[in-house]
Amino acid sequence: DTLADVKARGELNCGVNTGLAGFAAPDANGNWTGFDVAICKAVAAAVLGDPSKVKYVPTTGQTRFTALSSGEVDVLARNSTWTFSRDTDLRLDFVGVNYYDGQGFMVRKDLGVTSAKELEGATICIQTGTTTELNLADYFRANNMNYQPVNIDSNAEGEQQYMAGACDAYTTDASGLAATRAAFADPENHIILPEIISKEPLGPAVRHGDSNWGDIVRWTLYALIAAEEYGITSKNIEELAKSSQNPEVQRLLGTTDNLGAMIGLDAEWAKRAILASGNYGEIFAANIGEQTPIGLARGLNAQWTQGGLMYAMPFR
């Protein structure tokens, strides 16, 4: 029973990337920040009452799922794509999507390429051991094109190769491309091609078989998303908790109905989760949004009310 374990331990073990700008990276003092890290903090706040009670377990592409299935981590929030086989064969449960991504290509402007369809025969840098590798193979196969893959081990290597012109195009999730491009000395000389060749719904995962724990993580994520939808922010949450008349908000913040009890938590769980690093929109804006160096637009990740896909199930 993961919940009991976590409570007994007094600490949430959260699997994260070893270092991906915007999503999860330790700073010089070992403090973790990032879009995925915020999920860990929210869950810890909901379950343990303290967003800092997280032990971050850096995982590589190879070790991430094993770390989860062996019980080394309780939640895996490591920009992992939700796929059929991972959900079934690997015995994981993806509990939701915190970022709708898609695989794209980045090329130099002076290459004169404007579409991925023009990449016949190109050399393409790709990180090994990810779904992108499979997508790329499928895409070129489907379009009857040839390409030369350059397998690289980490994002840093990929950037370095791409910068030196060792590959014509660099492919990874569009969010990663944007982050990478942002760090270039000359971002204007690089373009991200319009084709998005895959769906990459990234989301936190838990072990298969512990549905209650899965529910906690899932609804913590939804709480963050819903909070944005209802306009609950870390600034106004205390006030809304006292004064909001919206029954949906009241239920969410535990003013009426003790939803938390149904998942083994107390009434204020969602409030704490939102307080940890703000609602979904705040987290987005603080880590990867347009004001950050990474500068991602909300796009698909806008609320459903804004034409995006972020849609929290009702708290009822």
Binding site: Q62, G129, P149, A166
Partner: protein
């Protein structure tokens, strides 16, 4: 006087299991063996229980599923539609390629450097020392990364070869292009292609290749015969006939004939689209890995060679000189045969190390066994237990083959002593 009669075997007592030397070691061995077996059983039992808890099984069936990923450099035909098994084999072949190339180059370079360190050229000996110390005292991973980065940073991208105002030009009579992705080398083409031998599973050998192999192997045997003949002549007359002309001819004449017969010629790579095509593009991952392994291992081999030569005492050289042998003959007849005995065993273990170290290939994206089976396949199928067990078994088998070779060699050249 003590009464000394014929010794009667004392009857067996339980305490003899501990106090009698004959039984004591048995007892000890049995206890340790039981403990070890118990530990092994414990591990296996845990594994079985863990697999059950996770709802997994131990099953190599995933090897026959579609792999779905591409591999940059494939010695045998491979597409993403092939199975994980074939990807594994591709990875193994890639491991073998870089290991064998590395062993050869490291030996050549290592011997050269080892000898150069003994040279009386002060400057060169010092330079070689710097080389050896630099490579021995920094992690191999660092060298792999650095060399790979040097390749990408220093060499021009393919499109630098493009157009009128190309900033780079091909070398070796426009046959080879060095780029920061790969080295484009010409392929061998034939005007008179004899067709291929199909071994099934899309593995083919061109008859021409087979013909060349036959010629080379045959040539090697003929060469041995020539050497034996030269030895016989020398034994009989004392004068050793010159054999190098014949030796050269044995290999080259048939080869030249075959080249002519098949109309063999080079087909230079050409820049088309983004990349060079028409030739063979040797990935920089391979070249950088190969170079790093070579340099790193060569530094160790150099030390082994140096120690081996130094181990042959100065007295041996002097004795040979005093008998009137020239330096070259002394090297060949006296120093080398003795030095080799000292050199070969650690040399082989360097080969072992090189083979194992080639598993760092992933750092430069070269898809070796660890990159395919232990990397992407493991990752895509989630079969970590099976994949790692299989991978370790393969590496272990490689090592055993190499060290078995070493033991045979050692037994053959062991010095006879009192």
């Amino acid at each position: 006087m003590a009464d000394v009669s014929a010794p009667a075997e004392p009857p067996f007592r339980l305490s003899m299991l501990i106090y009698d030397r004959r039984y004591r070691s048995m007892t000890f061995q049995v206890i340790v063996f039981i403990l070890v077996m118990a530990a092994a059983w414990w591990l296996v039992n845990n594994t079985i229980r863990n697999l059950a808890v996770l709802g997994k099984d131990f099953n190599f069936g995933f090897l026959f599923q579609r792999a779905g990923y591409d591999i940059p450099q494939t010695p045998i035909p491979y597409t993403s539609d092939d199975t994980h098994l074939r990807a594994t084999i591709v990875g193994l072949l890639n491991t073998l390629i870089v290991s064998i190339l590395g062993c050869i180059a490291a030996t050549v370079l290592g011997v050269a450097v080892g000898v150069a360190r003994l040279s009386n050229n002060w400057l060169f000996a010092r330079l070689m020392t710097v080389f050896v110390e630099a490579f021995r005292n920094m992690p191999l991973l660092l060298w792999i990364l650095i060399i790979y980065a040097i390749f990408t940073e220093i060499l021009p991208p393919p499109n630098a070869y493009r157009g009128e105002d190309a900033t780079a030009s091909m070398i070796f009579f426009d046959n080879v292009a060095l780029t920061n992705r790969y080295t484009a080398i010409p392929t061998l083409a034939m005007t008179n292609d004899p067709g291929s031998l199909d071994l099934g599973a899309r593995i083919t050998f061109n008859w021409a290749t087979i013909a060349f192999v036959v010629v080379l192997v045959g040539g090697w045997f003929v060469r041995r015969a020539i050497l034996a003949w030269a030895q016989r002549v020398q034994d009989a007359t004392g004068l050793r006939p010159r054999t190098w002309v014949m030796n050269l001819a044995v290999m080259t004449v048939p080869s030249l004939f075959l080249i002519f017969w098949f109309g063999l010629h080079l087909e230079a790579p050409e820049l088309r689209g983004f990349n060079f095509t028409g030739g063979i593009n040797v990935q920089n991952g391979l070249v950088a890995l190969w170079l790093a392994l070579t340099l790193y291992t060569a530094a160790f081999i150099a030390e082994i060679v140096r120690a081996g030569i130094l181990a042959v005492s100065k007295g041996q050289t002097e004795a040979a000189f005093a008998l009137g042998l020239r330096p070259r003959r002394t090297m060949k007849l006296v120093i080398l045969p003795q030095a080799l005995r000292v050199i070969i065993p650690p040399l082989i273990s360097q080969y072992l190390n090189l083979t194992k170290n080639s598993s760092l290939a992933i750092a430069v994206g070269y898809m070796d066994l660890r990159g395919t089976l232990g990397g992407t396949t493991l990752n895509q199928t989630g079969r970590e237990l099976e994949a790692i067990v299989l991978m370790m078994a393969i590496y272990w088998a490689l090592s055993m083959i190499i060290s078995a070779g070493m033991n045979i060699f050692n037994a053959r050249v062991k010095l006879k002593e009192r």
